[in-house]
Symmetry: C2
Subunit: 311 residues, 2 copies
C-alpha cells in the first residue's frame, strides 16, 4: 500500500479553555474524529483525495458544531449564505460556490461544478438552480436553524458590525471547516466550507471560495485549506502563497506555512490558520490564534490525532 495522508480543520481562533466544558470538548473531538475517519477510510480503500476531502468536509457540514452547512451562522437578514470550494492538485480543476442558502452540502455543490460545469465559480440563487439540476439535497430554513447561532446573531443584530463566529465576548472563533489529503495515486486535493461571518451584509464573500485565497491544490507543491478573518486571506492570496514559496523559493511545506501564517499574515494584521499537505504526505497545521479545531492521520502511523489548543 502506498503512502496516504489527510488533515482536517474545524476553524481557528481564540478558543478559551475557561469557556470549554468537558462535554463540549468531547463533542468537538468526536465530530472531528468522525470526519477524519470518513476521509481516511476512503484513502485507505484506494479512493481519491478529491473524494476524501469532499466527504470529510460534508461530515463537518452536517454537524451543528461547525460554522458550515447545518451549523452556519446568520447574516444581517437572519438568513444563511454559505460558501465552499474544492480543488484537485492533479488537474488543477476547481469548483467554488458563494451565496448558497438551501443546499445541504455546499462542498458537494462545488464538486459538481468541477464535474458538470464549464465554469469554476457559481453564486447566489442561480447557483442553486445548478444544484437542483444536479439533484443535490436541498433543505429549508428550519434545517439550518440553530438556537446557539440564532443567539449569536441576536447579540449583534441591527448593528453595523459583522462578527466572526464567536461564542462569548473574548472567544473569537473562525468557524470555517476544511480538509486536505494525499491519496495513494500521489494526488493532493483541498476543500473548504463556511457560513461566513455572523451579521454579514451586502452579499459579502469571504476567502473560502476564492481559489488561491482560502483553498488551493497543486501536485507540484501542496494542498491548502484556510480558516480565519477572510478579508486578510483574500488580500494576502494566502493558500497560493504557500504553494508559490515552495515552487519559487524551494522552501519546505513547513517553512512556507510558517512564513505565511506566522510572519506575513501577522504583519498584515490577520488572524487564523491553515492546514496543508504536500505530495510526500507531510502535514502542517499552522495557526497564529489561540487554537484550531484539527485532526490528522497518515498511513505510516495509522492513528487518528485530534487537537484543539496549542501544544
Amino acid at each position: 500500500m502506498k503512502l496516504f495522508s489527510i488533515a482536517i480543520h474545524g476553524g481557528a481562533g481564540t478558543i478559551l479553555k475557561s469557556e470549554m466544558t468537558a462535554d463540549k470538548e468531547a463533542a468537538y473531538k468526536e465530530s472531528l474524529r468522525e470526519a477524519l475517519r470518513i476521509g481516511y477510510d476512503i484513502l485507505k480503500s484506494g479512493g481519491t483525495s478529491l473524494d476524501a476531502v469532499e466527504e470529510a468536509v460534508k461530515s463537518m457540514e452536517d454537524s451543528p458544531l461547525f460554522n458550515a452547512g447545518k451549523g452556519s451562522v446568520f447574516n444581517s437578514e437572519g438568513r444563511h449564505e454559505m460558501e465552499a470550494a474544492i480543488m484537485c492538485g492533479q488537474t488543477l480543476e476547481a469548483g467554488a460556490v458563494a451565496g448558497i442558502r438551501s443546499v445541504k452540502n455546499p462542498v458537494a455543490l462545488s464538486r459538481k461544478v468541477i464535474d458538470n460545469s464549464e465554469f469554476v465559480f457559481l453564486s447566489g440563487d442561480k447557483a442553486e438552480e445548478f444544484a437542483k439540476e444536479n439533484a443535490l439535497p436541498i433543505e429549508d430554513e428550519t434545517y439550518f436553524y440553530d438556537a446557539f447561532r440564532y443567539q449569536q446573531w441576536q447579540e449583534v443584530k441591527g448593528s453595523d458590525k459583522a462578527q466572526l463566529d464567536h461564542t462569548v465576548k473574548k472567544d473569537r472563533k473562525f468557524g470555517t471547516v476544511g480538509a486536505v489529503a494525499l491519496d495513494q495515486f500521489g494526488n493532493v486535493a483541498a476543500a473548504t466550507s463556511t457560513g461566513g461571518l455572523t451579521n454579514k451584509k451586502f452579499g459579502r464573500i469571504g476567502d473560502t471560495p476564492i481559489i488561491g485565497a482560502g483553498t488551493y491544490a497543486n501536485n507540484k507543491t501542496c494542498a491548502v485549506s484556510c480558516t480565519g478573518y477572510g478579508e486578510y486571506f483574500i488580500r494576502a492570496v494566502t493558500a497560493y502563497d504557500v504553494s508559490a514559496q515552495m515552487e519559487y523559493s524551494n522552501k519546505s511545506l513547513q517553512e512556507s506555512c510558517d512564513s505565511v501564517v506566522l510572519d506575513k499574515m501577522v504583519k498584515l494584521g490577520g488572524e487564523g490558520g491553515l492546514i496543508a499537505i504536500d505530495a510526500k504526505g507531510n502535514v502542517v497545521l499552522s495557526f497564529n490564534s489561540e487554537g484550531m479545531y484539527r485532526a490528522w492521520a497518515n498511513s505510516k502511523e495509522d492513528t487518528l490525532n485530534v487537537a484543539i489548543y496549542k501544544d
Copy 2:
C-alpha cells in the same frame, strides 16, 4: 517631477484584421487614447495611482465598445451581471464586486468597498444596496442595452454554451477592461472591470473580481490586470503568480509575465493576456492571443501609445 507610468487594456483575443474596418479601428483607438489620457493626467498632476486606474477604467466602462459597464454582454436571461476589482499596492487594500446589474460604474463601486466597507468582496443585489448607500449612479436596463451585444446573445441564446465576447465566428475577443499605474509617490495600483461571458448562467463569477486571479497590486513587486478566459486565470491564480515569481524567484517583470502568459497559461490551455507595471515604472503588455486592445504612457517619454495587434 518624479517618474510615473500607466497602461490600460480593453480586452484580448482573436481580433481579425479582416473584420476590422478603418472606422471601427479608429473608434477603438480613440476610446483607448481617451481613457489613457484621463489616467495619465491624474498622475501628471500628482494624483494617486488608485485614482488613475479607477478613472481610466470608468472611461472604458462608459464606452459601448468594451465589454464592461455600458457595453456589457447579456447573460443567459438577457440581463447584465458585471464584475470589477481594484487594489492598492501600498496598503494591499482591495475592493471587489460581482453580480452587479444596475451600477453605472462597477469599478467605482469596488473603490467604495475599499473606502467605506470592512469587507473586500461584495456580490449580487445586496451589493447594489451598498452602492445606493454610497450614492453611486444607478442606471436602468435601457442604459446597458446595446444592439450589437443583443445580437451576440441572440446567436447563442437557448444553448448551453456561454461565449466569450466575440463579434463573429472566428473573432474571439475577451472584452474585459483594466488599468495599472505607478504614481509619483512610488505606489502602484490595478483595476479591472467586465461584463463577463455572453450567455453565462448560474451566477457565474470570472477572474476579474478575484484578488490574485484577475487583479493584484503590491508595491514590493507589481500591479497586474488580466483579460482572457477567466476560468483558467482563476485556476492559475494568474495575477498573483506574476508577483510571486518576482518576489520569490527574483525575476524581472518581463520574465515573470512571459512565464505566466506565454508558458504556464498556454500549457493549461488558457488564452488571453495581461498588463503589468512595477515600482520602477516598467510596463509589460503580454498576450498569447492574436491581439489585445492596449495603450500605455510614461513620464519619461510623455507620449501616448495605442496598439491592437501584435507588433
